[in-house]
Symmetry: C2
Subunit: 254 residues, 2 copies
DNA sequence: CTTATTAAAGTTGTCATACAACATTACATG
DNA sequence: CATGTAATGTTGTATGACAACTTTAATAAG
């Protein structure tokens, strides 16, 4: 059992509750070089003293670290840094989504996945799933005609395709990525709506995907989905994103 | 502001600390149908009473829910279920990794990504990154000669390719997936090591990937990486996984 | 001296109480 | 009815106590 490394507390400067702040500080500490897997954090009382907060705050912060899979506690013994494990989640730090580059990186990840998702959907889709996909595509059109932004309908469309992969992880991951791309999707769709030619192109791209899935042609589906996402990425890149990102930030600060 | 829905507490039966158990129960409740985004959880005191635990336990559990992005608290007002947001993590439930099908589904997700990663690495890799990739490939061989299982070296190899994408999300996501596939990788490599012909095939697959990246040929890199991962998946599928999964489970129960 | 047993100290998990800071509701006044 | 004040309710934090467990230290026995 490794000894408790030297505990260096830097002044907590972030905003939020004390628990939030201690959690952030401990997380950084653990992700640093001093606390290797297996090493033991100082006792709750010592940490409370070091941070200048009550034991309650420490316990709440440590409870969160446990949820992140970063530590495990053993009653009577202490709190220990965990090895790489299946409990740690995959996250994208929301605070980085204030740069155009970061948005495009997330878009790129999604782009990579959508091609694969469409190919698998073409292989595995059931009749019912095909009906749902076609219905979702139709709903995009109905929403547009009703004057809506179409973002939710677009998400439902892509979700219906991900469901047809029969692999829940594709669905969960794409849903996860939607969270980061709602604003970007809104931007893209707004831009596409300003030009009839673009709008038509997007419809055709969607149709090509659906057609390939219907025909159960994975290669065509992959290609169509990639081309659609690449087109969307290009269209996103041709819009001045900064204005929208500034809005996004003010919205998130409530 | 929506009213607080009816609060139905089912007897907590799972193991772990009370905080763990209340957290699980609340999470299920929130993911159910009664608590829509915007709705308010009962007050801490009421939940403590309902669950038959102290307010401390509730607070610790709610602190975790906040970390999961599932709720937000407003001092003086209450705890509210959040909309879809960028704070919620992507997780794969470790408990499902006890079935062969689930392992193969995670493998499939990784398979999809590795092709895209290799293609991007071929487009973007720097000289230094190319050196690191070749070095990592050499290290696999050295580890095998030293009698090691080669799992860590294999991970380092794939990691070096993901780094060459220049997109941190691919790297982070593939690292995340490694956590679930360590055992499967061990199984595959063990099986591959039992037959000289297989072992040679894997080396050639690796070489083909590295060659394509070196030549900066994205299509060849994508194809080579997909073929390698498909081969690995087939090889994994031809092993009796159940024995190993049983072992994995007993290891995780400490 | 070595080994085994017991006691003491330390640590996490939970409970209870109190107060600060904030929000909501109820009541009184013009 | 609108406005202001008081009362009540809720989250955030601190403190103290005790239970359940682990580790270390002290003591007794061979």
């Amino acid at each position: 059992m490794k000894s408790t490394p030297e505990f260096k507390v830097e002044r907590i400067t972030t905003t939020g509750t004390l628990t939030d702040r201690v959690f952030d500080a401990l997380k950084q500490l653990i992700n640093g070089e001093d606390f290797q897997p297996g090493s033991r954090l100082p006792s709750e009382l010592k940490m409370a003293s070091r941070f200048g907060v009550s034991r309650t705050v420490i316990r709440e912060a440590v409870s969160r670290l446990k949820s992140e899979g970063l530590v495990e506690s053993r009653q009577g013994s202490g709190v220990f840094v965990r090895d790489r494990n299946m409990h740690a989640p995959f996250r994208i730090d929301p605070s980085i989504m204030d740069s155009v580059q970061s948005v495009l990186q997330v878009v790129e990840l999604r782009l990579s996945l959508e091609g694969e998702i469409a190919a698998l959907a073409a292989k595995r889709r059931t009749r019912e799933q095909m009906v749902a996909i076609k219905h979702a595509l139709k709903q995009i059109e109905l929403d547009e005609q009703a004057g809506k932004d179409g973002v939710e309908a677009d998400i439902v469309f892509h979700r219906s395709i991900a469901e047809a992969t029969g692999n829940p992880h594709f669905l969960a991951l794409i849903e996860f990525l939607f969270n980061f791309l709602i604003k970007a999707t809104l931007i893209t769709r707004s831009y596409e709506a300003t030009k009839a030619a673009l709008s038509q192109q997007v419809k055709e791209e969607h149709l090509r995907i659906v057609d390939a899935i219907s025909r159960q042609d994975p290669e065509a589906a992959r290609l169509a989905a990639r081309q659609h996402m690449e087109g969307a990425s290009r269209r996103l890149g041709s819009v001045d994103l900064k204005r929208f990102i500034a809005q996004s930030e003010s919205q998130d600060s409530h």
